[in-house]
Amino acid sequence: MSNAKDLKILEGIAAGDEGTITAFYKKNLPYIKGYILQNSGNEEDVEDVFQDAMVLVYQKAKTDALVLHSSLQTYFYGVCKNIWRNRLRKNKKIVRTDDLSVTTESVHPAIIQEIERNERDHVYRKYFIRLSDRCKEVLSLVFEGKSMKEISGITGYSETYTRKKKFECKQSLIHMIEKDPIYKELQQILEKK
């Protein structure tokens, strides 16, 4: 059911095209905002949910794994709505309104499972991008599996400094993640299992 316009938007999102993403953001944010604010959310929740849904669409579009059974807008609202309902459920809060003109069929059950699985990843990314540039630079190389010697060669920092910085940055990242309420909920669920 996807039309040429939707496919073009998906291509732009997959390519990281700023113009396409900005236009999509501006057009759709007010709807998501209305829904989340009416359902116990705040401005930060709106941004988080919207961006997490965009990341999901990006990952799917990039690997050609997105098959739309409805318009992109309907699909996207469905994803946002499910992300938010999922978070509310974890916080034991009730959805007051379903007014987002989305039918439940617009989001495949497999996507709902994927939303659940991606929750932890969203938390990781959220805090990683808040780190200083230097931390991001060092940790990105660590996550790529590079040794201290290699990182030192790439960045020009001494090995001692790289080692020290890597520990400080990773420790600070883990601390931020562990304080996040969604992460805490996920850990509790995991422990119960």
Binding site: T22, Y25, K26, S132, F143, F167, I174
Partner: protein, 245 residues
């Protein structure tokens, strides 16, 4: 479990398969006997898995930047109606009164910004010289910089093509210390957002504006530095509070 650099190194070596067979066996035994260590290893494993996807991280960063831009645009457009209605007359009166009081205020506030500048300005620290590399001309520049011989730093770097961002910070700080702030501003602004020195460049740009007493220019920078939540956050909050006093 206390987190130490040694534990992190061990876990990373284990995840990167760089431990010897004996070390792997010993470490796996340790993991099996300690639930906390088991959890810690899993935490690192999942972090490495998720955050090694740089494309998705870049996409997420792009979203954050776009969101900020949209908010800025919204704030800007929200302020427009004020000037497009009958409020114009009232605004004109306010502006006239404002200009009069500005001269009185400027005299007092200049002293205040200079005091704050003296409190917050510390030259951008020169980094330890990377071990095992020969002494180069640029390292001589670092020595001059450390010894506060700023004129010499400017002479050495000003006409050099393609200096890296770290040296731009040395040069910018040298300009700040030789009353050539406009050059410092241009230099700090030239450091791109994806540079590892971007956060530093924002801080020194902020301090340059502080030195010049340009408080309006400082506001968005202060907010951006606070939101960035990095090295300068605490100082930025204190400075913002001091400016609001």
């Amino acid at each position: 479990m206390e987190r130490t650099p040694e534990i992190f190194e061990k876990i990373e070596a284990y995840l990167n398969n760089t431990l010897s067979q004996d070390e792997v066996l010993a470490f796996e035994k340790e993991i099996a006997n300690t639930v906390e260590l088991q959890n810690e290893v899993e935490k690192h494993r999942s972090l490495h898995q998720t955050l090694s996807d740089r494309d998705t991280l870049k996409f997420k960063e792009k979203l954050v930047t776009i969101s900020k831009k949209i908010k800025k645009e919204e704030e800007h457009s929200a302020s427009q109606p004020f000037f497009s209605s009958n409020w114009r007359i009232a605004a004109s009166i306010v502006i006239i009164l404002g200009i009069a009081s500005f001269f009185w205020y400027t005299f007092d506030s200049q002293n205040r910004t200079q005091e704050l500048y003296a409190t917050y300005y510390q030259p951008f620290p020169a980094e330890d010289i990377t071990r095992g590399k020969p002494i180069t001309e640029l390292q001589d520049v670092v020595s001059s910089y450390v010894n506060q011989n700023y004129t010499r730093v400017i002479e050495a770097l000003e006409n050099k093509a393609n200096i890296n961002d770290q040296y731009k910070l040395y040069l910018g700080n040298s300009y700040m210390n030789t009353n050539t702030e406009q050059k410092a501003i241009l230099l700090f602004e030239s450091i791109p957002e994806d540079s590892p020195y971007y956060e530093n460049s924002r801080w020194y740009l902020l301090l340059t504006y502080l030195k010049l007493g340009k408080i309006q220019k400082m506001k968005p920078l202060l907010n951006a530095i606070i939101q960035y939540n990095g090295l300068y956050k605490k100082d930025a909050i204190r400075l913002k509070e001091a400016l609001l006093d």
